[in-house]
Symmetry: C2
Subunit: 407 residues, 2 copies
């Protein structure tokens, strides 16, 4: 008998009909001879509604009470999905996050799971119950309720699958799986049947919002295969796993984009040791992530230092960098936010010859200027003008034959 | 420094404006130098909405999951009221029922409080916090969430006041206090400044729905003075207490009515011992309450046995009584549901001369036929035709001078 953990997102449980649909899928999984633990999100826009209500009462509500408030949404879903299973004659029990044994630190609204005490769930499974757990929440050592951050029901599910040594974790959502690129940008985008944890992490960090990175990281740590699929169809979805055959594939798997990109250039930086550290230290202290960093070749002992930050952080970043630039004797400091990142993603492509060259040539032939380049183990990223993103994705999707079925 | 427990009902926290209003009242109580623990109900019609949603999914949902579902409504209120106090700069903390230490038995949807572990609340009060507790809920020994029955936030508040040895318990609701009778029936009805626990119990059991009986009983057990008042005005309200001066007052305090009344008469019952027990045993087994019981004088060794049940239970009751009537050789079994109870209530009136006589005479002068009579320590009740209720109440209200201010 296999143990399967399933997670259903907010749109999958948005009303009574959809809850019944979800219950049918859960019952089918149980009827196939599996033990089933289900993690549910809040119904539809419930969480947004609660946040708005809180905002009417307090412009910056304390995070502890926000957690108390928001955690109720998932508890409602857990009760209703359980009732739907009862209506179908299936034994089931609904549990809050804390009843399910999820212990977290006390960083309210972004708590981390410290530990899962699986004794209650194990007992319920042994009694033949399907267990429906409220996602996104846990409890501190002081018995205070925490939430794990927006969309973190995925995290609950993967962590639960890890703690229970589940065979698979199914993440049911409103997309059918992981695509070679955003289908709204490239209609020829194709759904992948499988992808590695590392590739998925690159895709997520580069703006492909199928799953949160924390969930994928947890999947990798516990080696839990994660199936991402739609709860509205029976299409097969995409399996995220650490299978060995991927390690040697060396193939472009997908194209990711990120339009939340701005760049800052410090012009005429004196070329002496420690300068870069001086520029980036205040940004790190303020919690601002610096992404792509390029230092141009030195001309007469002065260089230009360029780096990207999230577009949403640009004003904060420039205010921090400008005084430092003055202090170190740089000539000027300029910014631009009409930018985007386009990346090709695939395990091992950095070390395989030809991918970078083909990427640059494809962009060149499409008349797209590359402003910056960065590489990682499994991705090559070019910063281009924001209005060139669609053209770049379509050209790369064709050049790397991503519309063709997998071998 | 006095400790005050306050309870705010659903209509008092129905929206953001009302929640702010409640927060102002709580803050004023704290500013007056009191420690304050507040018990809140779910916002407005939240509980009804959740019950309807559950009904769309399962016609008879399991009570355990109904409790899981319904308990969220009060948790939302507790978070929001706490946020409103924070917005006013007051230190406050929101707690669920189980966080507040409320332990119950496992009779879901009608659980009884077994014990309150006040350690968390006491600690929060010592730290200077106003404590906002989600009413209506608790937790079993097995860590399952229970609810205490409709309207039982009153019970939470009074039990909490008892456990904390609070000076007073304030029940804020949408009525201004306890009246001499229903103001919709008798416009001259007057608000009482005080009433005894026993009188209040009679009023509640006779259909005056200001507070639930369980809360008043608890108040009497713990000797917690309960102030019932409106959260929408600063009028003084009614204090329910056990003050000694009431014991000797011997005065009609109020007139209660109950229109949920039906009567069943078993005709020609053989006059031998044990017959009444045979008739009432199946009703007791089915959980149906029998109220007024009258056995007419015996005529030729057969009597008529008449009793009242709630009108809403009549069909169930008659189905149980008919076969028993046949079995014991009664002649027939008839029912009527066009009835109501009218009662005069006041400590000691049963033993004081003249009250019963004045009641019967007043009804007689108004042309109202009395179908049945019953008395208790503090009430005299007449069953009359339902369409005579208003006339009866107005006549009795005048006869016992209830429109005159208290001495």
């Amino acid at each position: 008998m296999a143990l399967i953990v399933q997670k259903y997102g907010g749109s999958s449980v948005a009303d009574a009909d959809r809850i019944r649909n979800v219950a049918r899928r859960i019952a089918a999984t149980a009827d196939a001879g599996n033990q089933v633990v289900v993690v549910v999100s809040a119904m539809g826009k419930t969480t947004d509604g609660l946040i708005e209500l809180a905002g009417q009462i307090n412009e910056s509500p304390r995070e502890r009470e926000m957690d108390l408030l928001l955690s109720t949404g998932e508890v409602v879903s857990s009760a209703l999905v359980t009732m739907a299973l009862h209506a179908m004659g299936r034994p089931a029990i609904g549990l809050t996050g804390w009843q399910a044994g999820i212990r977290t630190d006390s960083l309210h609204r972004r708590a981390r799971i410290l530990d899962i005490d699986t004794s209650r769930i194990t007992e319920e499974l042994q009694q033949g119950n399907i267990v429906i757990v409220a996602g996104f929440q846990g409890m501190t050592e002081e018995n205070d309720i925490t939430t794990l951050g927006r969309g973190a029901s995925d995290t609950t599910a993967v962590a639960m699958a890890g703690a229970l040594h589940a065979e698979q974790c199914h993440i049911y959502t409103d997309v059918a799986g992981v695509y070679t690129t955003d289908p709204r940008i490239e209609p020829n985008a194709r759904k992948l049947t499988e992808i590695s944890y590392d590739e998925m992490l690159e895709l997520a960090s580069l703006g492909a919002k199928v799953m949160h990175n924390r969930s994928v990281e947890l999947g990798a740590i516990f080696n839990v295969p994660i199936l991402v699929a739609s709860s509205f169809s029976d299409e097969p979805g995409t399996l995220i796993h650490g299978g060995a055959q991927m390690e040697v594939r060396n193939k472009v798997r997908a194209i990711a984009t990120d339009t939340n990109v701005a760049k800052i250039t410090v012009l005429g930086v004196p070329d002496r040791p420690g300068i870069a550290a001086q520029v980036f230290a205040p940004l790190a202290e303020a919690g601002l992530s610096v992404d792509v960093i390029v230092q141009n070749a030195s001309v007469e002992s002065a260089t230009d230092l360029t780096f990207t930050v999230a577009k949403t952080d640009l004003q904060k970043a420039i205010a921090l960098v400008r005084p430092v630039a003055k202090e170190i004797g740089a000539r000027d400091c300029v910014a631009s936010d009409q930018l985007a990142k386009v990346s090709i993603v695939g395990t091992g492509i950095q070390n395989a010859p030809g991918y970078a060259a083909r990427m640059f040539e494809t962009l060149y032939r499409s008349g797209i200027n590359i402003e910056m380049i960065t590489t990682s183990e499994i991705a090559i990223t070019c910063v281009v003008a924001a209005d060139h993103v669609q053209k770049a994705v379509q050209a790369l999707h064709a050049a790397f034959e991503l519309d063709k079925p997998e071998a």
